[in-house]
Subunit: 275 residues, 2 copies
């Protein structure tokens, strides 16, 4: 029974394509695991929406992922991790992790001057959750948050290295530079795609923390601890990765194929409001 449980897929969700940066890290670091990914492309973006709405949407998605018989759930979205994870986690029998705590933990380890910057959507920054986790682990830390609402649309327009994007990065991040931070958390799953421009603006001396990578590491530890690591032979996994969206499957698929290490064959559209 325990063995069968470990062969089940990992459920993962985001407001859209951003969480694919988390899926990518799981694929790279845990090649034995299956994934069921849901992108809420009909209701993207989550960044400017309220806690109440994000909680309702997340509950619907968790019900859908459970209908796919997943063994654990990764909230691959900072806004949903900030607003919905703590409440929903207690309602479930399977483990559930988000991207915020792993990112906060690594930032605490990386900082030398205890000045940590966090960038994200309005929802993530106004939730104050990164600050809360960081201060719990390191009460001396100073946390400077900054919402960057244009980054998601710029990424979705494929303007990853555009001069306009660079100008907006400069504007949003200059106040953080002036606060003398030495560590910066990329607190939205879209932002790792802007990494090179952010690096250029912030300089080499600032450590950039990518919660997507840290989340994959935390997930690996969690599965091992719970005896849920999939040890089955690879040949049994014919379709290891399945993708579902609430709208515009083709656009999603194109984007996915531009950032994932494997090509995805299709993304299936479902009516998430029915869950």
């Amino acid at each position: 029974m325990a063995e069968r449980e470990s062969e089940k897929p990992i459920g993962m969700f985001d407001s859209g394509v951003g969480g694919l940066t988390v899926a990518r890290e799981v694929m790279r670091n845990m090649p034995g695991e299956k994934i069921v990914y849901f992108g809420d492309t009909a209701r993207v973006p989550y960044g400017n929406k309220s806690k109440e709405i994000i909680l309702r949407y997340s509950r619907q998605i968790v019900r859908f992922l459970q209908s796919q018989d997943v063994k654990a759930i990764v909230v691959a979205c900072n806004t949903a991790s900030a607003f919905a994870l703590e409440e929903i986690r207690h309602e479930l029998k399977i483990p559930m992790i988000g991207v915020v705590k792993p990112g906060a933990r690594v930032a605490c380890k990386a900082t030398r001057n205890n000045r940590i910057g966090v960038i994200g959507t309005n929802g993530t920054i106004s939730s104050g959750l990164y600050t809360e986790f960081i201060r719990e682990m390191n009460p001396r830390a100073q946390v400077v948050g900054k919402a960057c609402p244009l980054f998601v649309p710029l990424v979705e327009e494929n303007m990853w290295k555009d001069p306009v994007t660079k100008e907006m990065v400069r504007r949003y991040l200059t106040p953080l530079k002036e606060q003398n931070i030495d560590t910066l958390i990329l607190g939205c799953t879209h932002y790792p795609l802007l990494r090179s421009v952010i690096r250029e603006v912030m300089g080499e001396s600032v450590t950039l923390v990518n919660p997507a990578y840290e989340t994959a590491c935390s997930l690996k530890e969690l599965l091992a601890r719970e005896g849920l690591t999939n040890e089955a032979a690879p040949e049994t996994k014919k379709h290891p990765y399945r993708f579902f969206v609430s709208d515009a499957a083709e656009t999603f698929q194109k984007f996915a194929n531009s950032i994932l290490p494997v090509d995805i064959e299709n993304a299936q559209k479902i009516n998430i409001e029915e869950y």
Copy 2:
């Protein structure tokens, strides 16, 4: 009975705040009319979503507006006008108009060289509906469409006159200038707020068509034709304008107060998925 019918409010909806540019024109030009406005702020933006999803959302909203006993419905959103108006109109007993046809009609009157540009969201432009209406009225017209996906987020960031916005306007609109258009339809209800920057880039010789204004004129004619113009004395209308949203009522209210001729007292949040 006919008199009571005319005293009912006009229902109006958009994906969010953009449709307030239409509400503004109705308030200015038809001061005797009451309005019930719904902004779908929980699911904004509509511009990159599929026809199927926009149709489902629009049907829910129309059911909500009918529960408010409106006498007519204005689809104050170009994407929803393009994707949902024709299908839903036939299901209703009250009149329903959108913003696309009035904008197309005025552009046909304004052009001298029969070269008309249309800018809008991906959804509106890919629907081809402006082109279809324009060619029906003027078969000799050449229509050049261009999707401008960053304009909505730039407006919602209040960057109406920012150099970054000007750079994006220049990029999106240069291909239209090169096509020698003499008339440009601002085919998204957010875009009138970028009018001064668009004017600067396009020059004085190009006529800018604002479908919000044209829709208010069409609505006035429609109500008169159907005997639905409100002739009641103004003192009977204590709360002539009511606003409903699916999320983030406070942000909506702030934005509304920055562009409407009257201050709104509150916006009420409802669960639109229940309709």
